[in-house]
């Protein structure tokens, strides 16, 4: 089933999007209790990149015998490789024992740096960007938000996901949102099932794209990244997905300054939209939007095959 939500403050307005997205996703908990993910768009300092990565799965931390030592070793290996590539790490934060948040400056080839770090066993980069921070873990929205200290995160827009695992495992790797590797600041959340996943995945893999999980939703992120790389605008890339991707889907995609939504031609998965002069809110159910706007608001369902994009 899965629940997805998105919000964007227009005209450069910033707000406590960490708390807002937590409330929206908590209201959608009944649509998927397995894991919760956030893609929050804040503002880092000029020229500074934010790196979110993890070196183990939550499940491993509970059952593994050697994992606590491995976590320390893997983190040290990441530090070494960052230094080797000439990245200047300005800040290090431990979000949890196995997930970290770094600020760094880097002038070289970002894709090479990312590939070099992910080459390490057990290390997965969740996101790299000037604005995007991607946080995902097992548990409901409140649990994850408290674990990672998301309340008070100030930014312009966010997307989020509550997952009911149907196509792949319950772990952080298969949780949404997906980062459109290796592009700065692009992330995707999806509700539905894609039926031509393997055909399209093989096609994209032949062109050199990497897939981190076996979750069908990752395909949307990789496909959009591929199209942007080949010169498409976000909206154009999204319109292509309507024709090319087969299956049922409603998905949200965010970039450094945009938020977009697309719905398949059957209109099989829900999406409720609220738009005012200063704010746009989207969610699988209206209760999520009401969790931050308890007053009476006018909402509607976008139609099948619709693509919409808003700017911050």
């Amino acid at each position: 089933m899965c629940g997805i939500a998105g919000l964007i403050w227009k005209g450069g307005v910033t707000s406590d999007i960490g708390s807002e997205m937590t409330q929206m996703l908590q209201a959608l908990k009944h649509r998927g209790p397995d894991s919760t993910g956030f893609a929050l768009y804040g503002k880092a300092e000029e020229g500074v990149l934010v790196l979110r990565f993890k070196v183990a799965e939550q499940e491993e931390m509970k059952t593994g015998f050697d994992i606590h030592r491995l976590v320390i070793e893997r983190k040290a290996a990441v530090d070494t490789r960052l230094e080797e590539m000439g990245a200047d790490v300005t800040a290090r934060e431990d979000a949890t024992e196995y997930a970290f948040r770094y600020h760094f400056k880097f002038g070289g080839d970002l894709k090479r740096l990312i590939d070099f770090i992910e080459d390490l066993d057990g290390v997965e980069i969740l996101s790299v960007g000037t604005a995007l921070e991607l946080i995902k873990d097992l548990g409901d929205a409140t649990v994850v938000a408290n674990q990672y200290g998301l309340n008070g995160f100030v930014g312009t827009h966010a997307i989020g996901h509550t997952r009911m695992a149907t196509e792949s495992d319950v772990d952080i790797r298969s949780a949404h949102p997906y980062w459109a590797y290796p592009f700065n600041d692009v992330s995707v959340v999806h509700n539905g099932q894609l039926t031509n996943y393997w055909t399209m995945r093989r096609d994209l893999e032949r062109r050199g794209h990497r897939f981190m999980s076996n979750c069908d939703s990752e395909l949307i992120a990789v496909y959009i990244a591929d199209r942007i790389d080949r010169g498409d605008e976000l909206e154009g890339a999204m319109r292509r997905t309507i024709d090319v991707i087969d299956g049922v889907f409603t998905y949200l995609v965010a970039t450094g300054n945009q938020l977009g939504m697309a719905k398949d031609v059957m209109g099989a998965k829900p999406m409720v939209l609220y738009e005012s002069d200063e704010f746009v809110g989207l969610a699988s159910e209206e209760v999520a939007i009401r969790s931050i706007f308890p007053r009476e608001i006018d909402t509607w369902d976008p139609y099948q095959g619709e693509v919409k994009v808003w700017a911050a």
Binding site: G267, E296, D298, T299, W300, D301
Partner: protein
């Protein structure tokens, strides 16, 4: 052994199959009383209202039951805040008002009440409604009036995809446009759409009638346009006046759609079956 009364003796077998149809007819006489024996005696003049903001879904629905039990015939629910499954399973006469919006499955499985919703409704509103009226002032989600069997279901705004899927009776009126697959597998009843209709309108409909005032993106399989008769116009005029609604270009310019009945194969035998018979 005592005497056995068969259903034939009781006169229950007046229905008959007529021509190429599976539609069953029976003569429900006007004197028959169809109210439920356990229904509450309510007085419309006796009104009550309560705030649903801090109540759970079951608490709200139980509160409505309690108020009906104590004879309240007019109930207003404040701040429903788009919660799901509100006002479901009411098998009673009642004036029910929601001051706000409902989530999914609102007013499903109802038989009798007159419901007024000042906000919007989510997916599957008034699913399997048997009788009564539901009037929504704003928009409706997909699957609006899925499988309804009777009563009037009115949305003054726009509705999502698959409006009146599997409709088996009653009337659905939408004031603005509707999405794809509206009237999918419709079996009986009438649908009035005053805005535009999405792709595959009336796909695989068995029977029933769809009236559209706006543009139609495309017709589904076996959905055909037919003549708008004087009787249709009279019906449309009456229904729309009842809810103070208007066809944007007048009733005369509306389009009437029904089933082409090309997919009806009820009486035909499969090739293998034919071999056995012949």
């Amino acid at each position: 052994m005592g005497s056995v009364t068969t259903s034939h003796d009781m006169g229950l077998h007046e229905e008959q199959l007529a021509g190429r149809t599976q539609q069953m007819y029976f003569s429900a006489t006007a004197e028959e009383n169809f109210t439920y024996p356990w229904s509450y005696e309510v007085d419309y003049a006796n009104s009550a209202e309560f705030d649903a903001a801090d109540l759970s879904i079951s608490e709200i629905n139980l509160k409505i039951r309690e108020l009906m039990k104590s004879g309240h015939g007019s109930i207003t629910v404040l701040n429903p805040r788009a919660k799901h499954s509100l006002g479901v399973g009411i098998l009673n006469r009642l004036n029910l008002t929601f001051e706000g919006s409902l989530g999914y499955f609102g007013c499903g499985l109802i038989d009798g009440p007159n419901v007024h919703i000042t906000g919007r409704v989510g997916w599957s509103c008034a699913e399997n409604m048997m009788a009564g009226t539901v009037v929504i002032e704003k928009n409706a989600g997909s699957l609006f009036g899925a499988a309804i069997r009777g009563g009037d279901l009115v949305c003054r705004g726009q509705a999502g995809a698959r409006v009146g899927i599997d409709q088996k009776g009653g009337t659905i009126i939408v004031g603005d446009s509707v999405g794809a697959f509206t009237g999918f597998m419709m079996q009986r009843g009438r649908m009035i759409i005053l805005g535009d209709a999405g792709d595959n309108l009336g796909d695989s409909m068995y029977d029933g009638t769809i009236y559209v005032a706006g543009k139609i993106a495309s017709l589904g399989v076996d959905c055909v346009e037919t003549e708008l008769t004087d009787l249709d116009k009279k019906y449309l005029k009456g229904k729309l006046e009842l809810y103070a609604m208007q066809a944007p270009n007048g009733i005369d310019s509306m389009v009437k759609l029904t089933s082409g009945k090309q997919l009806w194969n009820y009486d035909n035998l499969e090739p293998t079956e034919k071999k056995l018979v012949l």
